[in-house]
Point group: C2
Chain length 454, copies 2
Amino acid sequence: MEKVKVYIEENKDRFLNELFEVLRIPSISAQTEHHDDMIRCAEHLAAALVKAGADHAEVMPTEGNPVVFAEKIVDPRAKTVLVYGHYDVMPVDPREEWTTEPFEPVVRDGRIWGRGADDDKGQSFMHVKAFEAMCATGTLPCNVKFMLEGEEEIGSQSLYRFCRENRKLLKSDVILVSDTSMISMETPSITCGLRGLTYMQVEVTGPDHDLHSGLFGGAVANPANVLARLVASLVDEQGRVTIPGFYDDVRELSVAERRALNRAPFNLAAYKRSVGVGDVAGETGYTTMERTGIRPSLDVNGIWGGYTDEGTKTIIPARASAKISMRLVPNQDFRKIAKLFEKHFRAIAPRSVKVRVEFLHGGAPYVSPTDLPAYRAAEQAVEATFGRKPLPFYSGGSIPIVSAFEEILGVKSILLGFGLAQDAIHSPNESYGLDQFFRGIETIPCFYRYFSEM
Amino acid sequence: MEKVKVYIEENKDRFLNELFEVLRIPSISAQTEHHDDMIRCAEHLAAALVKAGADHAEVMPTEGNPVVFAEKIVDPRAKTVLVYGHYDVMPVDPREEWTTEPFEPVVRDGRIWGRGADDDKGQSFMHVKAFEAMCATGTLPCNVKFMLEGEEEIGSQSLYRFCRENRKLLKSDVILVSDTSMISMETPSITCGLRGLTYMQVEVTGPDHDLHSGLFGGAVANPANVLARLVASLVDEQGRVTIPGFYDDVRELSVAERRALNRAPFNLAAYKRSVGVGDVAGETGYTTMERTGIRPSLDVNGIWGGYTDEGTKTIIPARASAKISMRLVPNQDFRKIAKLFEKHFRAIAPRSVKVRVEFLHGGAPYVSPTDLPAYRAAEQAVEATFGRKPLPFYSGGSIPIVSAFEEILGVKSILLGFGLAQDAIHSPNESYGLDQFFRGIETIPCFYRYFSEM
């Protein structure tokens, strides 16, 4: 491994500059006006993979944003690692809260600042550079395939079909994913569980036009008031979701499992400080780590209706809307939850309004057993570079496509992520530590080595 | 009155074209970028008043938008009518719902379409033209003063001070206001009651930045969910406002008064059709007319927070806000209600969030006794032009400044409005009937005549 370490050390600055080139492309998949940026980003990464040592790399079209596929076959009989990542990023609003330009990356206080610095351009690019280091030093021990998509932040719709149509091309022994976080640099961890997701949008319509709130106030149902009432009723005082049947399939952990889970170091005061809240809140009877790791949740991601501009406007808005997403845990089916949500929301709406309920996207929860050879290889790799055996970690996040990989390709994924809570992914001022970036590049070749030797 | 009628008939087209010139000025007081339009509109009206026959007209500066003042003194011993109106208009959003340009007035289906066509440029301008007709035909029976403000839609803040500082200048026997509606052209009415208003803005803040709803969902209070819960709790299942003390000062009408009020013709099916709702909703135990006429109400005028753009974004927003206004009835004090609201809202907010509560503006309710000579003069004037004795009507709307006139100037106002529910004031596609406009211009001189003879 020494040669690889030296190579990485000697090329640090170039690696960083090359990452910056990727970060400068505003590849926001949720906003159609960025369509050309998606193509540009995909082509840029394909070129980078060839330069890194791939036999060939292609920008493969889909119904949506293209998939970047690349591969290097060292020996048909050797094991094959399929690296998955995504080059699309989240929108940047609220724009005004960024202290630097979201798409003009800078290094400050030992961290890379910019949209995508962690999620997932920074983490995907670690694999490109680790791959280059192994090729350049002749230490690549197995075959490698890259699959980088451009729709992860909007549900990976095109990738499901892409996987079904390219099973042969994607044949591999393990899928390696760096799109998750660790507890801390001092307490490394590997994500062995992910929550699923059901993302809905609702619209409540009342009068067929905005009404004067004086002339009609008190006599006509106000869609914004009604929406507030309906949304509020979805979670009860105990922090439990009230949708009938919502908890039916939830896998309840045993006391032993819960004890093990809570053994991971957790500092409530530090946690509150890191998010800037006076107190945590959630389902009664569960710890904060359990609330995000093994319990489902319901959040309003956005709500809007009526006059939201400067000053006052005395109206009863004609309509009000909300984006509502639910995080799911093992055994919950995101399609079933979507149906239960729609049925319930329609059932509780009063006759004085009309409601529209739309399913935007979803994904299944995922569990990676800690006794998989590939998981153990990852464990050893992290221990080799962090000097500590990583803890198994149940993340609250979702990577819907990961469970689909298992269904469609029949291959398990290893969630070898190097993010940290402080990276503020999906938020203004996203960042990624230089130590996270380079430690990741060092860890990946170790994984290849241990995995190929198993 | 014949001469006046003839004059109006002969000048109809010009009157309309002159009104269009006023409607073309986008004098939206709620939006600061329209500051210059406010000045332009005020100067335009001052010039129009001089052309109509005023001795002089001035654009009088205030801390906010200027007040247009004009007068014509025919005889110092004669009665004096002070005409009040406003030249500012509401914002036009949702812009896309307008079928014609809001500030490019057009006549279609016998109606004038455009922002301000009724509220209140159309109605104020009727007075300018009626005044012109009386001057031109030498039939002006009393002194006239005009006071047109530019902040009615945002609370008339500057006008309160203007009135206090110009008591002498504004000395009059009655204030004539056309900023209200009638039941219908077939059932004319005069507004004898107005609701008061308390307009608040609230902001709920949770984490100090948007959080990833997967990593934190279920463990951190979501400001949008909390806002929904708080707002929903402000009105109970019976449609009653839950703020402690809110109803303490509400004047309960006697059975006889309620019976009289409900004698006005009201067609529920037609009412539902006119606003496009499947059912009405409101405080249990009261009719629709009572709910808007004599009962207070609470409405969300706007609500916003988190991601409201296209597609999906999985965040817990750092904050969510709402504009909430309450309509008040006789004896409720808008300042006291603002205090009760703030106290209650702070009291019900959970420790997991911070709340900001802001008072935006307010005004007192108003009652004009139907036995006032001026009210009777208005009654006779309407009967003369509509062929029917108008009914006294309790409007749900508010004109906060009207009750201030009584406090500050000691003068009662007559609410001689010619609007109709279908005019969609404050909404997209505001309109005003040509018949309303010209019938109003005919009615006003009759009022002057009867009032001066009393």
